[in-house]
């Protein structure tokens, strides 16, 4: 979609950051994407001077980064401050209003994979949004929506199991088919109980999250089976 061929990859050094990056590195060659260089940083890092200088030298078509909003925010603003214009694609945990606040104007145009489409015309989603904003005083981020859906799914599993017996609830959850989540339709789970569902991509436009795409090619981000 973006015509990206050469990518610099920046990983946050924890399980989430590495697992997400491993998935990307595995899938990249299938789509003709070459990873020119890989960098990593720690959860506590807010200063990315050396990585930024190296990405500048790489001169990639695109940058893929994993991290949280509090690392992603400073990272994106420092990349842009160094005059790097290539599109930046961030992982799910960039999805927070705080990300836009931290990176300010530099956040513009950043893509966030596995985010959720905030404007989708869905009553449950819009209700969740208004209520969350009202009670918390700030807009929900991706993780809040996922957690909400997870609790709903758990309740649904208990209902289908017809009991609170852990074994029965577990089997009911594993057998889930087409459950409606706030983010969209959950197709089901694979043999390792990893989630299978289409994911949305957001882009930041005018300081707001805007739906940019829906990835329905499930093979592109198929979770590991073993």
């Amino acid at each position: 979609m973006l015509g990206i061929k050469k990518v610099s990859a920046i990983t946050m050094d924890n399980d989430y950051g590495q697992a997400t990056m491993d998935g990307f590195l595995e899938a990249a060659p299938k789509y003709g994407i070459e990873v020119i260089n890989k960098y990593s940083y720690s959860l506590k890092d807010r200063q990315f001077g050396s990585i930024v200088a190296s990405v500048k030298r790489d001169n990639p078509d695109g940058i893929y980064a994993t991290g949280y909003f509090f690392t992603g925010g400073p990272l994106v603003s420092q990349l842009r401050a160094a005059g790097i214009k290539a599109p930046i694609i961030g992982s799910q945990a960039f999805d927070s209003e705080k990300f836009i606040e931290i990176a300010g104007p530099a956040a513009e145009g950043t893509y966030i994979v596995d985010s959720f489409d905030r404007n989708r015309k869905d009553e449950a989603l819009q209700h969740f949004f208004t209520e969350f904003q009202k009670r918390a005083g700030y807009a929900p981020e991706g993780v809040a929506a996922v957690t909400y859906s997870a609790v709903k799914l758990m309740a649904d599993g208990i209902k289908r199991a017809g009991s609170t017996d852990p074994v029965k609830v577990r089997d009911a959850l594993a057998a889930t088919k087409n459950f409606t989540m706030l983010e969209g339709n959950l197709n089901g789970f694979n043999s390792l109980h990893e989630i299978i569902m289409p994911i949305s991509v957001n882009a930041i436009k005018d300081g707001k999250f805007q739906a940019a795409a829906q990835i329905t090619d499930l093979d592109a981000f198929a979770p590991p089976e073993k």
Binding site: R46, S50, V52, F70, A81, A82, G104, A106
Partner: protein, 289 residues
């Protein structure tokens, strides 16, 4: 250009470390206390800067407020935490200091929220200059300029003024200084006030650069500053300056050349271990044993 970019990063980070670490080394030189809670002073400086800047709309007012408030906090730490514990073994005040740091981190979390605070209007953090293809951020320049001005000022103060000379005398020969009528208690307050103000400036500048102040902002610099003051030879300001710059540069280049195998934050400690094996007295310290 690539290597110059890395040098710019290294020097600016090194200057930030220096402003943070010098307060630590001064306290050690005077009281033989490892002032771990200095990181909380740094964080307080960052919070005061961002909160006052957002309230008044002026980043300058934020820095001024931080420079006035954090010395009071630093002196209070001495008066209320260290002074009552001075007669104990040096690890006792150090443990109290660690306790204060943990307490302050959670206090920041409770008061300012765990998501952190950003500047409402941070033009400096987003302003960059392109100098012959090398990109320099306005805040990076401010960090280097502040460090140079502060350390020149500190040098003049400790060599050209009576108070400054008394301060130095107390640090190196406390008993003789006292017999010359220098009030060592006043020197201690002065020490905490100046060290804290420097940490506050560093904290405020880092806040601008990251455009984010969160409860753990002092965390990384705190343990690196400990490594720096040991590298610099405990209690030596000149050694701390050198060690700060060296560490900033080593980290900057090291992230690229050895970053594949080693976390950047580990570099400080690897350097520390290596140096302690070769030169246990630090870069400029003299061997006493």
């Amino acid at each position: 250009m690539y290597y110059i970019d890395l040098a710019v990063t290294g020097v600016s980070v090194g200057c930030m470390y220096a402003m943070m670490a010098v307060g630590l080394t001064l306290v050690y030189g005077l009281l033989r206390i490892l002032h771990v809670a200095h990181a909380a002073v740094f964080a307080l400086g960052a919070y005061v800067t961002v909160v006052v800047a957002n309230a008044t709309g002026s980043v300058g007012a934020g820095f001024l407020a931080a420079i006035f408030i954090t010395p009071l906090f630093g002196m209070a730490i001495y008066r209320m935490l260290y002074e009552p514990l001075l007669s104990y073994r040096p690890d006792v005040p150090m443990i109290a200091s660690v306790g204060l740091l943990v307490l302050m981190q959670d206090a920041f979390r409770i008061v300012f929220g765990e998501q952190g605070v950003t500047f409402r209007n941070n033009t400096y953090g987003f302003t960059t200059f392109d100098v012959f293809g090398v990109t320099v951020n306005a805040v990076q320049i401010a960090i280097v300029v502040s460090a140079v001005v502060i350390f020149l000022g500190l040098h003049l103060f400790t060599t050209r003024t009576r108070i400054g000379v008394g301060w130095r005398a107390t640090v190196s020969q406390p008993k003789i200084a006292a017999s010359f009528g220098i009030d060592s208690i006043k020197v201690r307050y002065l020490n905490f006030a100046i060290g804290s103000a420097l940490a506050a400036v560093a904290g405020g500048l880092v806040a601008l650069l990251n455009n984010l102040v969160d409860p753990v902002i002092g965390y990384v610099v705190s343990y690196k500053a400990l490594a720096i003051i040991v590298l610099g030879g405990l209690g030596s300001v000149r050694g701390t300056l050198i060690a700060s710059l060296v560490l900033g540069l080593v980290e900057s280049y090291g992230t690229i050349f050895i970053g594949r195998w080693l976390d950047r934050d580990a570099i400080a400690f690897l350097a520390l271990i290596a140096l302690l094996m070769i030169r246990p007295q630090g870069f400029v310290g003299t061997r006493t044993a």
